[in-house]
Amino acid sequence: MPRERLLIVDDDPVFRAVARDLLDGERFAVVGEAASGSGGLDATRRLSPDVVLLDVQLPDASGFDVCPAMADSGAAVVLTSIRDASSYGSLVGRSGARGFVLKDHLSVAALSAVLGESGPGG
């Protein structure tokens, strides 16, 4: 089974580095990183990733703002935040994202659980 191509969008370089270290492996191949909402949209168009790990709080927009466009391009978007999902009320559910992972709970297993066994787009 081919590895799923993953884009990481977060303005915190430390988190990007840790996430790449943590996730790049048998199931996911990290194909790119972006530090802003616009950068994330740009990278999504350019790289056509299978999965986007999208931070909610970005310097130029919120993850909820850019999520629909990313989802429309066919990527499975997983929102992530240091805050728990209840801080955002129903926005997570209505964002078009596949799911939500707390940053401190991030792991290949957690991400896989959100994406489901069916894989991207399924």
């Binding site: 909610v56 709080q57 919120s62 909820f64 240091i82 805050r83 728990d84 801080s87 955002y88 009320g89 129903s90 926005l91 401190d104």
Partner: protein, 589 residues
Amino acid sequence: MAEVEERPRWWESDTVIWCVAAAGLLLGGYTTTAAALYPVSDPFRVVMHAVTGVLYLSAGVVAHYRYSANAIGPLMLVAGIAMFAEDLQLSDEAWPHTIGQFLVAFSGAVVTHLLLMFPTGRLETRVQKALMAVAYAFAAQMGVAVAFFMDQTSDDDHTPPGMLFVREHPVVGGLAEDTSQAAAVVVAAGLVVVLLRRWITGRLLMRRLLAPVILLVLATGLVAVVGLTLQAAFPRDGAVRGGLLRFYDVMYASVPLALLAGTLYFYLGNGAVNRLLNEMRALTRAGDVEELLARSLRDDSLRLVHRTPAGLLDFAGAPVEVRPWQAVTSVGGPRGAVLVHDALLKEDPKVLDVVATAAGLALTNQSLAATVEAQLQEVRRSRARILAAADKERKRIERNLHDGAQPLLTAAKLRIDMARGALRTDPDKADERLVQALENVQQSIEEIRILASGLYPQLLTTAGLVTAVRELGRQCPVPVTLDLDALPRLDPLTEASVYFVAAEGLTNAMKHAHATRARIEARVTGADVTLSVVDDGRGGATVSPGSGLARLADRVAAAGGKLTLSSPAGGGTNLEAVFPREPPAPTPA
């Protein structure tokens, strides 16, 4: 405001007054010369007569300049001319002599007229008008009798016979003299009654005005009675008669001074009004304005009060009664302020108008200053409360970090250190330490998350006001209807305040009011944005000091808005905040 006289009458003109005064002086020069040349004249009486005439003329001019609409001034000029005209009969020229004969008793009638009109410059009653008519009629009758039948001066060699002199007629002359004397007694008595009545019915202001005139009239009356008694007792003694006549002359000369004193006392000059306005500027209390007005207008009865549905109340709230002799003048200004004062003050409508307007402005200033001061104090208090609340919050966060995340992170660090040390020698122990450290780190993350989530609504930052308020509605266990379509974009400080109003309203509906429904509505009216949270709960909410609602009110006020709470017991709650659409000040990021 008091009504101001409309069109000035011809005798109010400066030119007319100066022309008449100049004519009077010319006439005075002529008649004084004639009197001095008259062979049997008493030099004292000649001088006194001239002085009296000049006093009347001067007093007339001064009175005119103090208050031109009062007829007292012009009539004093007429009295001065009449004084001189009497002496025309002493002239050695035929026509002036004849005219003097006609006017021989005229000055007495004019002075009577003056006293009857004093101080208002009007004849108020029919009795006064009748007295004046009698005085003039008998002065005219005396003039006719003298001119035609009683040429008293024709027995000297100095004056020519009157041009109209028919013949000496003792019966007609005697009759004229008797009736004139009788008329003089009637008029004098009437005059005393009129003046005394004015004194008795008048108030303090009127009495002060009248005092010199009344004293003069009474003293003259008293001396006349004593003198006439003496004369009757010693008919041959010329000294009694001469002394009496000289006394009359002095009294006569004092009348214009008494009238002028009263006029100057009553009518405030420009200087006095300017002083009053200057003093008024410095006053900061309504009571001080009242005191200054009473003192300056010389009306002890004057009160500065305000008109209310419950009647006139003074500024301490006590009812004030308008006495029959008082009048009420509106001063404009706040709270329908009016002056209650002696009605006599209306005789000087211009000054009353200026003074009333100035009092209104002073009160308006005082009211504005009081409002600003009250607002300033409230701003100071709310600023202190906001600072206190912020400090309290800082302490809470500081304690929370110290007691929560920091010891956990410290423990984690120590355990990681230990794990490194044991990594090669005892991998199992190292693994155990790392698991413990991981737990500590996870706990500290949770601690910080909980702490941070209570500090500021994340949704407001991430998703904006409308979404954040909608989320509040969704999360509320009570069904909430939202009407936020009218809500415009506002500055961040105001948006946060709007959010907190919605949050507090829903918290109240849910926790305290036990409501079954709530509604959040935004409206734009003019330059204001209103957010209201209405519930159908049990009401009875109050803004108690230190409560969430009190802090919210401060917060709303700091954003330039105003929070109102309507929460009748059993009648639901309406929490409403009105904000200016334009931000009150540049807002922090």
